[in-house]
């Protein structure tokens, strides 16, 4: 089941399943967010936005607007 990265609660381990088309898509991919990549949502800023995720090796922060471009599924 695929959901938006913006809806994931901290601590959960997920896998990128799809990235929506937008001008940001190549940038997101260059930052390492490609299909199949495992991510963990680490924490959220006060007010819940932006969020910080662990992209296996580094911590990336992004706004909910950007996170909603990324579809994820549960990682086994």
């Amino acid at each position: 089941m695929s959901k938006s990265l913006s809806s994931i609660i901290p601590g959960q381990l997920v896998k990128v399943s799809f990235i929506k088309d937008s001008a940001l898509k190549p940038k997101l991919m260059e930052m390492g967010l490609i299909i199949g990549k495992e991510l963990r949502v680490l924490f959220k800023a006060p007010f819940g936005d932006p969020i910080a995720i662990d992209v296996h090796g580094y911590v990336l922060s992004l706004r909910l607007d950007e996170a909603s471009l990324i579809e994820v599924e549960d990682s086994k």
Partner: protein, 651 residues
């Protein structure tokens, strides 16, 4: 050789730069773009090399204005800055993402060295990289391991540069690799996907990861530093501490510089033979340079603290917790640092906006930055406060003068936020803002890097502000020295006769003559011309002159008043000037400098864009005169209306 230094942000690229070049670095320009070109010259066994530092990027394809230069240079072998050798700095603890940029460059077949930096952090994270295997995979390049922060691996790197043994003919990493056009987003997505699949295969062969700790130290610190309550409390505390420190300690060197320049220019005036050139030197150029130098202590201190926060990794967390708060105002979390810098000086503040990738957010930050009360306003504020605000305590313990000063700072800050919100509604942009920011792991700052940052900022300020302040002070000196056909001489003569009849001391006589001459000079005439416009604000033509002269830089206001009222400047406290100003009466016998006109002046200086240097920097950063003019316009309107309201209410 011409060597280009590239790498992702937060890989210790600047540490590598500093390790190789030391303090011998210069700032230049890349042709056609506003990005500063930082370069340094160093030699290995008498062979000289130029190392050019490029902006930190994740890819050779540009995603912001700053990054454009990387693509421009690397994609064009005929570019004047096209390198003979590229050094790519990679964070060894995060090889996967770092190899992305490296393999792109590798596939361009430019001779390269791959520097695996931060080897210590990689060990701490439990990562071990098989460098031999990595070297084998990239046979066209040379792989070197360093920990540049503490200078480890310098020998290995210089030897690699010296040998420059990378091959010319080799197989590209990504088969059928080709460079996409900047506009070809689909092609870039395809490339990113393929490249990462290959990189992941490679990583599995060369990297061993063992005993990764459940929660890193950075993560634990983040629980406090981005906490909804403690996060903001800590940030506010740090800000208060920094500004407290700056105000407590910057005044000593500033007073010292002030008196050195004042003494030097009066010494020049007394020593040099009388003449126009001597006057230009002692009254135009030397005080002009002094007006620039005096701000260096504050600017250096502020950037000392900012760069410590940046080096430690904390500044990225500030961006993180402030972003949501700044967004309704049309700003971004990345606007916080430029606005903070603007409290010292708007020039480095405006330049610091380059990290903001969104055009609209960056524009708004630039437009409101000069509303933050900069250090050049302090001499004006302190003079006016000492003049019209009684030195009393409110509620028994709060000093009223201090409270007013605080109020002026608050007024600047609050109005900048309100104006930002208004600009957000007025400006439209096609692109939507975004924030993709790496939160680097916390580390102890390297003092060498901090020192170099401070040195650079001071240099940029001195050069960009200095040139303009100096030029304007010469123009203003000329306008104050010359006047229409002989009127100045007439006025000087009658003042001389009057002074002699009153049997004044020589120095008093000279000052009265100077004041009389000024009244008849071009600038005096200009002051009188604008008097009707500024009368509703409670100002007379003498204040008018000071407003005009301080258009170059705000602090010139104080010096101008001293000349107009024929008072000898006495450095920091201005006691004599304050006495003299208190005595100044209008034609109806009321004092010129009363509560109403004084507060009106303070408010005027909170809002008015009295700084040519900032305008020039805004022009440079926005590449058109449109924005500085808009900025000057709305700030002038605010200043006039604000000052008018204050005067009408208080009088």
């Amino acid at each position: 050789m011409r060597i280009a230094l590239l790498g992702n942000p937060n890989t210790g690229k600047s540490s590598v730069f500093n390790m190789l070049t030391g303090l011998r670095q210069q700032i230049g320009n890349f042709p056609g773009v506003t990005v500063d070109k930082k370069f340094g010259v160093f030699s290995i066994e008498k062979e000289e090399h130029t190392l050019i530092d490029f902006p930190g990027t994740y890819s050779i394809y540009p995603r912001s204005k700053d990054e454009q230069v990387v693509y421009d240079v690397l994609s064009n072998p005929h570019h004047v800055d096209f390198p003979d050798l590229v050094i790519v700095v990679a964070d060894e603890s995060n090889l996967e993402r770092n190899l992305f940029l490296f393999t792109q460059i590798y596939d361009l077949k430019i001779p390269s060295i791959l520097v695996l930096n931060m080897a210590d952090i990689a060990r701490k994270k439990g990562k071990i990289v098989d460098i031999e295997k990595l070297q084998k995979r990239f046979e066209g390049s040379v792989v070197v391991e360093t920990t540049a922060r503490i200078g480890l691996g310098k020998d290995r790197l210089t030897r690699a540069i010296q040998l420059n043994s990378s091959k010319k003919e080799y197989e590209t990493f990504q088969l059928n690799a080709h460079l996409c056009e900047v506009e070809d987003l689909k092609g870039q997505e395809h490339e990113a996907n393929e490249r990462y699949i290959l990189i992941r295969e490679l990583i599995e062969q060369i990297e061993v990861e063992k005993n990764q700790k459940k929660e890193s130290q950075s993560n634990r610190l983040d629980r406090i530093l981005v906490h909804p309550i403690f996060g903001y409390l800590i940030f506010t505390g740090i800000l208060l501490l920094i500004f407290q420190f700056i105000f407590a300690f910057a005044t000593y060197p500033m007073d010292f510089i002030d008196s050195v320049f004042a003494n030097f220019s009066s010494w020049l005036g007394n020593t040099l033979p009388e003449g126009l050139f001597s006057d230009l030197l002692s009254q135009g150029i030397v005080p002009g340079i002094g007006g620039v130098v005096v701000f260096i202590p504050q600017i250096a201190l502020l950037f000392f603290f900012i760069s410590i926060l940046e080096e430690s990794g904390y500044l990225a967390r500030v961006v993180f917790i402030m972003d949501r708060l700044m967004r309704p105002l049309g700003l971004s979390g990345k606007s916080v640092v430029p606005l903070m810098s603007s409290v010292a000086c708007a020039i480095p503040g405006v330049m610091a906006t380059r990290t903001i990738s969104d055009w609209k957010e960056r524009m708004i930050t630039i437009l409101v930055a000069p509303l933050m009360s900069c250090s050049a306003r302090i001499p004006v504020y302190t003079l006016l406060i000492a003049l019209v605000i009684p030195n009393e305590k409110v509620l028994g313990f709060i000093n009223l003068q201090g409270l007013v000063l605080f109020g002026l700072y608050a007024l600047g800050l609050i109005s900048s936020l309100i104006i930002a919100a208004i600009l957000k509604m007025l400006m439209n942009s096609k692109e939507k803002g975004f924030l993709l920011l790496e939160l680097p792991s916390y580390k102890a700052p390297r003092w060498g890097n901090v020192g170099i940052t401070v040195w650079e900022k001071v240099k940029v300020f001195t050069l960009s502000a200095g040139k303009i302040i100096l030029a304007i002070s010469i123009v203003l000196w000329a306008m104050a020295t010359f006047g229409p056909n002989g009127k100045m001489e007439q006025a000087a003569n009658s003042a001389k006769i009057e002074a002699e009849s009153l049997k004044l001391r020589v120095d008093e006589k000279e000052r009265i003559i100077a004041s009389a001459r000024l009244e008849q000079s071009y600038i005096g005439i200009l002051g009188k011309t604008i008097e009707p416009v500024i009368q509703p604000l409670g100002y007379d033509w003498k204040i008018g002159i000071s407003l005009i002269t301080s258009f170059a830089a705000r602090e010139v206001f104080v010096g101008s008043l001293a000349t107009i009222y024929a008072v000898q400047e006495d450095g920091g406290a201005n006691r004599r000037l304050i006495e003299r100003l208190k005595d100044e009466k209008r034609s109806d016998g009321k004092p010129v400098y009363n509560l109403a006109s004084g507060v009106s002046l303070m408010i005027f200086y909170v809002f008015a864009m009295q700084c040519m240097a900032t305008l020039a920097v805004v022009k440079r950063e926005t590449k058109s005169w449109k924005w500085p003019f808009i900025q000057m316009g709305f700030m002038a309107v605010l200043a006039y209306i604000g000052a008018w309201i204050a005067y009408q209410i208080l009088s």
